[in-house]
């Protein structure tokens, strides 16, 4: 009997020692700690691009959507957009109407008389160039990827057109090009920003809604934007870590 007691005591002590030792070792494992940090800054030796969108200033003129289609040869039909503008109109009775006629390219018409409207506003949308983009995650061949500067890009010469990335994007910013038959989407005008130019939508905005910048540069307009405004991103619960930051984003916007 005493022998069994000694045995089980020994076993208990060994188990306890192993457990404690294991916890000590695990706590020293740095990689586990890294998983807990929310926003990683990547590309420390180069730019890490993002975009600010100031909804307080947007007047829904649609010049950004129009310029994007011109700059990037996007088909002009109202079914394919790299960027678009939405109008939200909340009426006094609580109902809400959201429209995006031709993506906002032809402008917006007010559909309800002033006295019925509780609140109305415009929301430009674009690819959010997520840090943890689900589109990159689900591409089966490696045609959707993130550039070293953090721009989510597409390789049209490798895309097989399976459409999985279109399904996986929570923001609806991807589409299959009707003639090229591969996926297309906002590239943050990669061909411009790598030449020191601004994206086309930023270039033409009359009220300075769009702020393009380098998140790694503490003096950039975008970093200042993030400091001065309490910014929000779209669908934060998806944890895609978008790099498009909105000022004045209201809860109705999805």
């Amino acid at each position: 009997m005493a022998n069994n007691q000694v045995k089980s005591r020994r076993r208990f002590l060994t188990d306890a020692a192993l457990l404690t030792g294991g916890i000590f070792v695990a706590s020293g494992l740095k990689p586990l700690g890294a998983l807990l940090y929310a926003t990683e800054r990547k590309n420390p030796n180069g730019p890490w691009y993002g975009m600010g969108i100031d909804l307080e200033k947007c007047i829904g003129c649609g010049r950004c959507a129009d310029a994007c289609k011109s700059e990037n040869d996007v088909p002009r039909e109202p079914f394919f957009f790299r960027t678009w503008v939405e109008q939200y109109t909340i009426l006094n009775d609580g109902s809400m109407k959201i429209t995006s006629p031709n993506g906002g390219i032809d402008g917006f018409k007010q559909e309800y008389p002033d006295e019925e409207i509780f609140k109305s506003f415009f929301v430009p949308k674009m690819c959010n160039h997520c840090v943890k983009s689900p589109c990159t995650q689900v591409c089966p061949v490696g045609a959707a990827f993130e550039s070293p500067e953090g721009i989510s890009l597409i390789d049209p010469n490798y895309c097989i057109g399976c459409g999985y990335c279109v399904q996986a994007c929570p923001y609806g910013c991807r589409y299959i090009h009707p003639t090229r038959k591969v996926v297309d989407k906002c590239t943050m005008c990669y061909h411009r920003i790598t030449k020191g130019l601004l994206p086309a939508c930023v270039e033409v905005c009359p009220t300075g809604v769009k702020i393009f910048g380098d998140l790694n540069d503490p003096k950039s307009d975008l970093v200042r934007f993030k400091k001065e405004h309490s910014w929000q991103v779209l669908k934060p619960h998806m944890n895609t870590e978008p790099k498009v930051y909105y000022n004045g984003l209201r809860a109705e916007v999805r």
Partner: protein, 399 residues
Amino acid sequence: MNPHFLHLYDMLSKVDGFIYPNEIELQWGILIVLYPYITGLVAGAFILASLERVFKVKVLRPTYTVALLTALAFLLVATLPLISHLSKPMRFYEIMITPHFTSAMAIFGFIYLWYLMVVLLLEIWFDYRRDLVLWSQEKAGIMKRVYKILTLGVTDISPKALKWDDKFGYAITVIGIPSAFLLHGYVGFIFGSVKANPWWSTVLMPVIFIFSAMVSGIALVMFVYMMVNYIRKKMIDMICLDSIAKYLLVALILDFVLEGLDQVHRIYEAEESFQILDLLVKGKLNYTLFLFQWGLGMLIPILILGYLQMFRSNARLRRILYLGSSLLVLIGIFFMRWNVVIGGQLFSKSLYGFTTFKLNLIGPEGSLMAAVWLVVPFLILAFLFWLLPPWKRHPEGGT
């Protein structure tokens, strides 16, 4: 104007509520509905076969080879709707040479090849090897050559070699069971892991897919077995058929419970997407979900099969009811895939509106094309029955 755009303008006028402008056209149509349907049939038929081999359910012996050959016939067709759906089909090989392992879709090529070559073909080969050798000796002309090739040059059919065949066949079947789950489970995961789509994104998706696969596979084997015996004017082994019906009933009940759990959970939690999904289910999916998937495809077969399990009836009535039930189940599971794939794309990811879907008759994504993909496996099966007739096997012990 491009006629394709005319179709889109028409859809634009039928949008209900608000959708993101890019969401007007559904990316995944009937071909993508077919793919999980066909791989589900394969996985389910294989599991039925493995019941006999691994779990020693001897009464199912008459359907063992039928199930395997059915699985093979459908597996050979499985990739075709997928590849023909790609908008750049000639680049399909990229999945095999640079698979992106964070994507569930990327493992498709390897799982498919693994299941085809290591599981199905090998198991059939080990099972048929003795007959292949004997046929290669008995036949003449081209067929002799064909069977010789199929033996892969191995002509040893001594009892020792045959014992190895049995051992390896058994091992392959054992590996085949999780492989079948993987073959179809990953398809469920393709949908279940898309966090952007609340109709698809659920932990239960791979599980539901697997169980509905088993249901459809068992129903298919039941249907094929009955049809083959009817065509060949042979007696149906009723004990075997009753047993299959029992497994079908159990699988149906399990599948029903799982799908019910998914819905109850969704209704109870009523999280952000609930309003739009509620509208979806009661509106656009009203008939395909309640009537076809659950009503005709599940409840009625459960009632029929349950009745037949509990009360005695003559063999002829049972055969008619089994045939009817298996057809209803096959149709119901097709609609389950439809409701998942099409249903998931009908509502906007903004959760503020719906787009429309029109199934064309002709065209690469039309219903005629889908019918072709469903008929071709039966043609292949007929060919396999001719090449490897399960009823002309050489009896044990002889040469």
